[in-house]
């Protein structure tokens, strides 16, 4: 814990921005660049950080976290790359269909839940699809300090290989691309074998890929603390449920397509959050009383805490009654 006083409460504090560029990278992925409206500079961030983008989608407020993928040393511009998810809850579709250059938006201060461990002797990055975004910033940061890294990046096809050309041109000897449609896969066993002591592995991609890396590394005798992973869980829709908020003295209904956290925000309840993806622990809330079944979707609570606590950003409830301390 740092003893230094925090000037801004990360996550909660917002920055007013203007969309300065919208660059379509391929059929699915578009990059959005932001500049500050007050003309000041952005704070530098540590690579791996994300920002939460506030979207006003026809009266519905959507807040989605995206990894900052611009150079962390660039304080003029922040950039995110968004993959369109046609089956998603609408945030990425809103970004793709509605956001234009010149639009005024709000984003949060950066929060880092996936930082580089700078004690590492070597950094091995494993990316699947849009999981490339945090590594774009990490590579920029490490290049500046002459860091020892390599990237193994799995993409579906050449056409959908976001930033593949840029990466292979700039770092031909450090970047390895694997094309699914050519049946190329990361040979993880070989890759883990023979890495020097003090190597850290970072993985960002689909849930299955993250589990695969953790499991394979454990079997090869790697300490789990040497494997860093980031997975944002988007809140899944579910049956509507009612919840009593004790501190606010309110009873609210969480709709099918919103999370408990979003429902509280809609009702004007000041609920804490950082990642909105079940990873950071900031929104942890005590359960006062419950009669029913929890659907825990977070990566935060220990099994014995589940039911005594709930993570409103991703978890839901089915049953007769729920009372939480908020």
């Amino acid at each position: 814990m740092s003893a230094a006083p925090q000037k801004v409460k990360a996550g909660a504090e917002k920055i007013d921005v203007t969309v300065s560029a919208v660059v379509q990278l391929n059929e699915l992925v578009t990059r959005f660049e932001f500049k500050r409206r007050d003309g000041k500079r952005f704070p530098t961030f540590s690579a791996g950080a994300h920002t939460v983008v506030y979207m006003n989608d026809g009266g519905t407020q959507r807040l989605n976290p995206y990894s900052l993928m611009s150079d962390p040393a660039d304080t003029e511009t922040y950039a995110i790359s968004v993959r369109r998810d046609d089956q998603g809850r609408g945030g990425s579709l809103f970004m793709h269909n509605n956001v234009k250059v010149g639009d005024k938006m709000e984003i949060t201060y950066p929060v880092n839940l996936f930082s580089l461990d700078l004690r590492a002797k070597k950094h091995v990055f494993l990316a699947g699809g849009i999981g490339i975004t945090p590594f774009m910033a990490m590579i920029a940061q490490l290049e500046r300090s002459n860091g020892h890294w390599e990237l193994h990046y799995s993409v579906r096809t050449k056409a959908l290989g976001t930033y593949v050309d840029q990466l292979t041109t700039t770092h031909p000897n450090k970047v390895n691309i694997y094309y699914d449609d050519q049946s190329q896969t990361i040979d993880l066993g070989k890759l883990l074998d023979g890495q020097p002591l003090g190597t850290k592995v970072y993985v960002c991609g689909p849930k299955g890929m993250i589990e695969w890396v953790h499991k394979s590394a454990a079997a090869a005798g790697w300490p789990d603390t040497s494997i860093h992973s980031e997975e944002f869980t988007a809140p899944q829709p579910g049956k509507a449920f009612e919840v009593r908020l004790c501190k606010s003295n309110k009873t609210i209904t969480v709709g099918e397509n919103e999370s408990l956290l979003e429902a509280m925000e809609r009702e004007g309840v000041d609920a804490p959050f950082l990642c909105r993806g079940g990873a950071c622990g900031q929104c942890e809330t005590d359960v006062i009383k419950s009669d029913g079944e929890f659907i825990h979707r977070d990566h935060w609570l220990e099994p014995e805490e589940q039911g005594k606590k709930i993570m409103p950003c991703v978890s839901r409830f089915i049953g007769n009654s729920l009372e939480i301390d908020r």
Binding site: G194, Q195, L197, T199, A218, A220, G221
Partner: protein, 200 residues
Amino acid sequence: MSKFQFPESIQSRPVYGTLEPRPGKYHLIIADAEGAEAILDLSEQDATLMANAHIIYIPKGSKLGDRLKALRPAQYYEGPSYQAAASRIERVLASAHMGTQIYLTGTEGLIGQAMRDCINAGLPHTAIQTEHRGSVARRMQCVHCKGITEDVITDPFECSHCGLNLFVRDHYSRRLAAFQGVCIDAEDPGNVPEKVELYK
């Protein structure tokens, strides 16, 4: 019996566990004195581990070296002191790969120094197994002259460098691999409590 249960103390004080076999391609075992008994116990749990093990042993007068050799580790080294083994340990760690399991056992001084060198080589300290065996003597740093005194067994003790009377604290430095010794009679020079053997 070479095992000793340390009383609970401040958070800074290292705590030790019991060695257990873990999956890995290579097993680096560094031990001194009665630490050999912990290696014998480890080998009893999984004798196959020795085929890929490197034992670095500092007997400090113990006669258990032959029994360790009889476990037929892939590599075996015996030396008179940690300092004597240090260049070998440095060489082994520099060429080691991820998937190496580290086992440290014996006195606190040995465990601490080997732990420090493994951390410097890039391993997270939580991934290194330790088991205390044998003497409860400590490696102490004098916070005044910064000199290190090995195998301190009484509290207070005299700094082997500057001669100050030092109080044995549980305050530990992972970086220095030493407990901190603080002058006990600074306010009232010469008023030094009688020496007591540690944990007696």
